[in-house]
């Protein structure tokens, strides 16, 4: 008798299996595909260094740009890239990535182009620092904002030198 009651009860209830379109909500902390913000990226390579399955790589267009590349088929969603990025240029999206057929072929790919900029002092192409970092370091109207890392180093050295030997400031010339 009890069994019949259970069967009748189950017949009247809706199915417990969900339809493909009726996906459960993912939690806010969900680790989805990566998103990359080129304006914050300094192409330091930390993300590629910590990525065990090598889902992140960099390619170069010499003198013009550096590209940050991501392939979801190799990603293990460990989040180490986002965790270790010194400028917070990478984050894990909360959305569920679309399905993919194989790790070798199709799936979400991302290329984020970081344009190089010519140094305002020596003209060398370089990846600029994120605007917020430059603001924190030098303020908004400092000449060093446009410098390449080499010239920044020179400028810092020159400041130090002038602080110790005020007369030496005019003599030293930096050649590249």
């Amino acid at each position: 008798m009890a069994m019949l009651k259970t069967i009748l009860g189950n017949l009247l209830r809706p199915s417990r299996t969900r339809a493909p379109a009726d996906m459960p909500d993912v939690p806010p902390a969900y680790r989805g595909a990566l998103a990359h913000e080129a304006a914050r990226c300094t192409a330091c390579g930390t993300c590629a260094y910590v990525c065990a399955p090598k889902a992140i790589s960099f390619t170069q267009d010499p003198g013009l740009s550096v590209s940050w590349r991501f392939f979801i088929g190799q990603c293990s969603f460990c989040g180490l890239c986002a965790q270790n990025c010194p400028t917070q240029a990478i984050r894990l999206e909360a959305g569920v990535p679309a399905g993919m057929n194989s790790a070798a072929g199709d799936g979400f790919r991302l290329e984020s182009v970081i344009p190089l900029r010519a140094c305002t002092r020596c003209g060398a192409a370089h990846v600029p620092l994120p605007a917020s970092t430059m603001d924190a370091l030098w303020g908004s109207d400092e000449a060093e904002r446009g410098y390449c890392p080499e010239c920044r180093r020179w400028a810092a050295g020159a400041r130090l030198r002038v602080a110790f030997v005020p007369a030496a400031g005019e003599e030293v010339r930096h050649e590249r």
Binding site: A29, T46, Y49, V50, A52, S76, F77, C78, L80, N84
Partner: protein
């Protein structure tokens, strides 16, 4: 007339490859030989070729069920070498994840065990309960498996609102107390297939050096959480579960009561989560020259890690001994004199993890 019978390597009881060569006399097993090594991946060697951050992701893939235990133990070893002390909040979060993982592992095992004795409706009930644990893990870490919570020096993710996870634990506790435990210990079908089956005496347990729930079901009261408390276990007051019978039923009961204890530990840890930082260090880890060996209690028993560093960007040696590596050979002792039909539940009762064993 005696005959030999190869069971496996594919799907001998679980969806993982290992082989049992059985010598039978009629329906009764005379002896058995276990063979493993069908899914060897060479993780220990790979670990020597990856840097300290990548190795955590790699080590997490040693096992799909107890992934956190492996990553956590490796991080603890690296922290010991570098002399880093993990913040208390991070230790609590690690404890919570480790215990949630034990719940999920034991529930998965209970489901597979129910399936092996042909009790399909119990399997469905158990897996519905397991879904609660999986959802909690996903809500905390963002992943359903391979949680990626550990880093050298602490944890990656916080539990911002610990109380949010309590209702799921309550529902789980109710489900365990009302469905899983009464069915396994009271249902005549379940009892007929588990009581007195696959006995491993205390002496045999010592001789075969079994660990974890298998040892505790044979009357050996060993548990790293109690014997050598790590993380927050000393502060949370841990009570281990022990049964003297040594049969499949005892292993079921030990795991079931351990789940109850895990729920208590998680609840206590969630309610007493201390404030503070999540990581003791900033940036990429630098591990000095040194070596460390660490034991932790994985869901299946004691996991042992030996990690050596030569101060470079990669570990110079990572030795992993997983609990299933010692528990699986004990199947040979358990099946002697048992009916052939009970072989699959006896194998399943040690909760063999071939992924861990083969590494």
């Amino acid at each position: 007339m005696p005959y030999s019978f190869p069971l496996g390597p594919y799907h001998p009881a679980l969806e993982e490859p290992f082989k049992v060569k059985v010598q039978c006399r009629g329906e009764v097993i005379d002896s058995a030989t276990v063979e493993v090594g069908f899914s060897f991946r060479g993780i220990e060697l790979l670990a020597q070729k990856r840097n300290w951050v990548e190795v955590i992701t790699l080590i997490e893939r040693v096992c799909g069920i107890c992934s956190n235990t492996h990553a956590m133990t490796f991080c603890m070893a690296a922290e010991t070498i570098a002399g880093i002390e993990v913040p208390r909040r991070a230790a609590h979060i690690r404890t919570i994840i480790a215990e949630l993982e034990r719940l999920h592992s034991h529930l998965l095992w209970a489901g597979v065990g129910a399936e092996d004795i042909g009790f399909h409706s119990l399997f469905m009930e158990v897996f519905t309960l397991r879904e609660l644990v999986m959802d909690t893990l996903e809500a905390i870490s963002g992943n359903r498996v391979n949680y990626g919570m550990n880093c050298i020096g602490g944890v990656h993710r916080d539990i911002p609102d610990p109380k949010q996870h309590l209702p799921a634990l309550d529902r789980l506790a109710t489900g365990l107390a009302e469905i899983v435990i009464p069915t396994f210990t009271g249902n005549p079908t379940a009892l007929a297939r588990t009581r007195g089956v696959g006995r491993l005496s205390r002496e045999q347990a010592v001789e075969w050096a079994v660990v974890g729930p298998v040892a505790r079901a044979s009357g050996l009261d060993i548990d790293v959480r109690k014997d050598q408390p790590y993380l927050s276990y000393a502060g949370l007051g841990f009570a281990s579960v022990m049964r003297p019978e040594g049969d499949v039923l005892a292993r079921v009961v030990v795991r079931a009561l351990e789940m109850v204890e895990s729920i208590r530990l998680i609840r206590e840890a969630l309610l007493s989560l201390p404030a503070g930082p999540l990581r003791a260090t900033e940036g990429l880890p630098e591990i000095p020259v040194g070596e460390a060996s660490i034991r932790t209690e994985a869901p299946r028993g004691e996991a042992f890690y030996y990690v050596a560093s030569e101060g470079g960007p990669t570990p110079s040696r990572v030795k992993i001994r997983t609990p299933s590596f010692v528990n699986i050979p004990a199947i040979e002792a358990m099946v002697v004199g048992q009916p052939l039909a009970d072989l699959s539940i006896i194998q399943a009762s040690v909760d063999p993890c071939i992924s861990c064993t083969d590494r």
